[in-house]
Symmetry: C2
Subunit: 278 residues, 2 copies
């Protein structure tokens, strides 16, 4: 297992941790000042300045892009709207490839509009993913399926376990992998097994935050590493035992707490906790 | 699949739906007035009047007891406190047996105090369950493991999937079964398979409510059947295809909505929805 306590070389910050409406230029320079070498931006931030400017900005500061958030959501407009959603996903692939990202993060999308059929939503996600894959392969851009916590199954993500994501990878072959996010997966009795099953080739990203007790909001109350109950070192141990050598990306949606603080404080704390409790 | 539209003969109401601090006598007479034949009371309500009075009350109104809530929680006081928790569980078995309940509902309990080790919590639950089982067998009282939604893994229940519950049943043999609660399990890609695996002998209770979009509170914002996104008839179909012939128990924790309404309104709506959308 890697020793994270000595430096920040494997640390990346997902920009949602600093509120994703913040301009990319502000975030990039704050990361550089804090000595953090990785960034996981959101598409809106890249689109706001254009890919060319974003590439220059990130390159000038010597940052690595651990992943782009976020695409997938193939269920959003139902079966009839899949082509629309696929068009947007192809643009996301181009953005992610253009910016030299390690992967494009895909989430499932919830139930189709007006539907209660989660099996059908899952089938449509698989269909969308298969349809997107040739474009991503041509762009040499890995697609990373991120299973989200089952509490998001209805309205955000019908892919809820690493087992589902691995099954999709089995079915589709090269060019598609997974994100292991501790927040979404820590409770899963099959987690260790599914991480080993994914292996180094498939684990494209590893996301950090913590589960707070109590959790006061289903979406926006994630904790800073160390403030919650997730056994972070254990899960990282499994991921690294599988061969993962990539960055640890901090992704914290925290309206009541961390989003109220300065970027500098959030980054300083992220570095401290990364070195001590992750 | 049974036709529920014609009468209420398989309908039971978990008393939490009517706020569990309400005296049992009030609830029992409201159920009888509404023509509902089943009840799932909480231990506090029975303890408040004593088993003998509770038996008479329920018997005088001709109600069947579809289950007693709630025991288990073997992790609550850590490994050192297991005997204490077991003592209380044995009292719960006696209460449930004394009242003629179909089963005693057990939940996992969350992480042990101060611990981040969910595997250890799960191991302690298994240990507690095995230690309780002889007493339950002697009382001829089936123990029903209720997996709770993964969002409760930290603070309420380390048993989060029907697969885990089935594994425990496999390991322990006679006298232990499961509760299938649609709220906790609807998202599970393995649900149909695990319901079939459980089979008629093991499925001791079937709980109804609905998943609201949005859900505004992790604990107290369950929906009335039909107001959410769960495909209730499909899940009941799986449960009945497995051979389940028991009652459908409505269990809705709803602070902002149904707990603000009169018992009569809640029961009238429960009956309507039971007949139409379940």
């Amino acid at each position: 297992m890697r020793d994270l306590s000595r430096d920040t070389r494997f640390l990346s910050i997902n920009t949602a941790t600093l509120r994703r409406e913040r301009p990319l230029a502000e975030v990039v320079s704050a990361l550089a000042r804090a000595g953090i070498p990785g960034i996981g931006p959101w598409r809106e931030q890249i689109q706001a300045i254009g890919i060319k400017a974003a590439v220059k900005l990130i390159g000038d500061h010597g940052l690595a892009v651990s992943g782009i958030s976020r695409a997938g959501v193939f269920t959003a407009k139902g079966r009839a709207g899949l082509q629309d959603v696929l068009d947007d996903n192809r643009r996301a692939v181009d953005e992610a490839a253009g910016i030299g990202a390690r992967c494009l993060v895909l989430i499932g999308g919830g139930l189709m509009p007006g539907s209660r059929d989660i099996a059908d939503a899952r089938a449509l996600f698989a269909e969308g993913l298969a349809a997107l894959l040739p474009h991503a392969r041509a762009a040499h851009l890995p697609l990373a399926i991120e299973p989200l916590h089952p509490m998001y199954a209805a309205d955000r993500a019908c892919i809820n376990t690493l087992a589902q994501a691995n099954d999709l990878c089995d079915a589709l072959g090269e060019g598609v992998g997974v994100v292991v996010d501790v927040y979404h997966t820590w409770w899963d009795p099959g987690l260790e097994h599914e991480i080993a099953r994914a292996g180094a080739r498939r684990i494209l990203a590893f996301h950090l935050s913590d589960w707070l007790v109590p959790t006061t909001d289903l979406l926006l109350d994630r904790g800073m590493m160390g403030d919650g109950v997730i056994d972070l070192k254990r899960i990282r141990g499994w991921v690294e035992a599988a061969g993962f050598e990539g960055m640890c990306e901090v992704e914290i949606f925290s309206q009541r707490d961390w989003w109220q603080r300065s970027m500098e404080e959030v980054l300083r704390t992220s570095v401290e906790r990364y070195k001590s409790v992750c």
